[in-house]
Symmetry: C2
Subunit: 514 residues, 2 copies
Amino acid sequence: MNPPDHEITAEAAVEIEKLDPREALKEMIIYNPMKNPERTNATMGRVEEVIGIIIEKNDKAKFLSDKCKSEIKGHELDEPMTAGEGTAVADILATELNQEQLGQAVRLFYESEISTEEVVAMHKKYKIPVSHLEDDLLPVRGKGARIWDSKGKTYIDLDSNYSATNLGNANPEIARGLYNQANLLISQKEDRIQVARTRFLREIKGMMPEGLTHFYWQNSGGEAVDKSIKIAKAYTGHTGVVAFENGFHGRTHGAVAVTYNKKYREPFGLHNESWVHFAPFGNLDAVEKYLSSGEAKSVILELIQGEEAGINPATQEFAHGLRELCDKYDAVMIADEVQTGFGRVAEDEGQWFASHVYGISPDIMTIGKSFGGGYPVTAVVTKAKISEKMYGGMDGSTFGGNPMAMVAALIATRQMRTLNLPGLAAKRSKEFAAGLEKIKSPILKGFRTAGLMIGIDFDSQENMAKVQEGMKKYGAHSSLSTGPTMRWMPPLVIESDEVREVLTALEKSLKDAE
Amino acid sequence: MNPPDHEITAEAAVEIEKLDPREALKEMIIYNPMKNPERTNATMGRVEEVIGIIIEKNDKAKFLSDKCKSEIKGHELDEPMTAGEGTAVADILATELNQEQLGQAVRLFYESEISTEEVVAMHKKYKIPVSHLEDDLLPVRGKGARIWDSKGKTYIDLDSNYSATNLGNANPEIARGLYNQANLLISQKEDRIQVARTRFLREIKGMMPEGLTHFYWQNSGGEAVDKSIKIAKAYTGHTGVVAFENGFHGRTHGAVAVTYNKKYREPFGLHNESWVHFAPFGNLDAVEKYLSSGEAKSVILELIQGEEAGINPATQEFAHGLRELCDKYDAVMIADEVQTGFGRVAEDEGQWFASHVYGISPDIMTIGKSFGGGYPVTAVVTKAKISEKMYGGMDGSTFGGNPMAMVAALIATRQMRTLNLPGLAAKRSKEFAAGLEKIKSPILKGFRTAGLMIGIDFDSQENMAKVQEGMKKYGAHSSLSTGPTMRWMPPLVIESDEVREVLTALEKSLKDAE
């Protein structure tokens, strides 16, 4: 395990590195509206935390912390200091730390001027706990397949925020493009024409499966699914939709209604929606029953079930059979490719979508996550025959396809094409598979890959959780699972030696857990 | 009408202005991945358009265009040129244009390297037409209350993208903050802790109405409404919701279901939702009937109905009566303040929300639009007693409250507080009202203001549309209306002389229409 140097690689930080370390430290401790308007003055809590990370000897760290604290009498530790206090503290640190320590302090303050403890406390205090708060690490920076936490530790990121950061995090081109666009026009509604969208359309149209030519821009995956259902209903003139067991499509009322797990539907009265019909995934007869009886005129599916099914790819027969059934009954086939799109499940070059992998062309596709390079942007994509039946007033969006989103998407997809991302994903997928083949353990039951969507089965949920937790110690961080299945979805830019690191971390953690 | 000089004011553009005009022109015509990764090479169509704008004499413009075109033989006019072609064209322009014209050309190419015609054509070709395409102007830049179009015309913006750009568009601090953040960590899911969110929480908590302390971050207004209903249902253990006639809440299944206009519900089978009960706006008895019978345990409303009601404020009695009814029946009061929040409807200082104007504290509030300074970010906000009943797994979000959104929101709300935005809005509202009082016309029937949400009633929808269209000629651009009511929602940073410009434009357009 040789984590790369904890250097500041971001373009914005180049300026800092040009400075004298004393000056740089002041810049990171004291908020400057011209240079770092996104920050606040540092807290003494963070000063204490940084000292603790840098100085190994407890007594020396305490001595230095106390010296700094004497400058802020009467202040709460976790309140931002005044500029005067910050200057005094920066002077003390500059005097007491050696050059190497000073450089380390600059980097740590650059990444956060607030202590980990305070960030966690604020979240717990002010967050509506609708999801499980993940406070095992405070991510402050990412690059490629790596993330860094507030304590200077680095991990290989096996989540990539559900595919939203397939290109990694800090991306100088995306940062620069967003900066330029924000200095011109930051927001325009979906129904107004726009330069940035034209640029992006030129880029994306060549990436789509056959016939998928018309776009409606949204902000989240759930929203795209919700709107795809509206478009299908408007086109078919029929509300009935077939969805699948173990499918997951998002969190708005419409998206929840077609999501199988009852615990996501029941508390909101969405478990008995008369327009939704669940069929077993893989069962064409069940689908045909709903279509032939006229109970449904649309079908929504993930070609490779992720979230709720622990990576469960449709068979070729099932995927093509569905396409044929939809053709036979003039029904709309909706492929939810929010998570599978843009190279995630590629088995070969050019496979931007699961639809490419299967060689089918759905009537409607939802796309999202990675194509904004981390910026919230999603879309409903459909064919001309469906688009031309739509009409003004049936929907609308303030933020959908805004100029910033389109800039981020243009730059991200351009990079994906330059990097040949599906080709990369396919290669790394094979490397993961080859490595996983070789790892034997009594608690390991098997694995499945669909490109870089990887499901690893354990004998129990407990053992899975133990190994997942244990891997963090060895520098591989994942948070996704379905029952006893651990799910890995690393950034698609993960490199071969990082694949090996992950596999080593798994092996070590398995040994610890056995 | 004295539009300000069409200068490049954006911070990013300062670099351009430092350059020799020839160099600057090349930079704007030829895509440079390091400097302007959000662009493409310019099209000949745009070259021709720019020449046409700069050179008044048709024959001279044609001569110059033909000279440029001779450099790109065999190319489509609306395809990006090669770098070589772009260089040749830039050289021709630099030779043939005088200094002033050259400066103008740099500005026009800076704002767009693609022709208006091509942008319109691309939108028409690839857009699912779920909304009415607005192709009357191609906005390329904004600053304060002004927007500029691709032809160098400037307008006062009376829409502010439904309040999303209350602070205007080009905002150097937001641009810089987003740049810095994108160079560190662009994306993290809603359930993971985060530095940027902590900073923003410190800023926003003091702006909220009493007791509204817990946040769940989302991306769009509709999504926030959809989730607010889920949270209300989970808290009350009851799906029934009272909504109001002429209310508008958004476009996802959940938000559509509580929106009154049947044309938004019917095509999607959402017009007979058994959990939704519509009451006339202002009718407390009707609400009490649903609450006392146990048919509903939540109430959702806009305190000032916008979109569908042409600006219709609740009376004090109705607003307070609803609060009392909700207390009496232990029901949840949801105020949808996506459009009314952050000073839009302020009548006095400190009135960040309509709830402040009315002096009430709803149990759940949705917020959105302007607080991200144009970045897509919204939220459900609620009280501790509701928040503490929520539980992990009931919802989740990939993009909600991501670090970029929180950075934009921190900077925007900080600016709002520094500017005392509610105080400004209240002042300008009075100026608009005083001016509108004085304008008399046989086709004008009256007006209403709620801060800077202004409804102007005409005798017919036709006359309203004629005047709205006519005002563009005089430099005031609005696109919002409800039947015969024109709606103005200018950026809250609009200045007094700009208010006068708008009123003058209205007067002139009324005279033209009478």
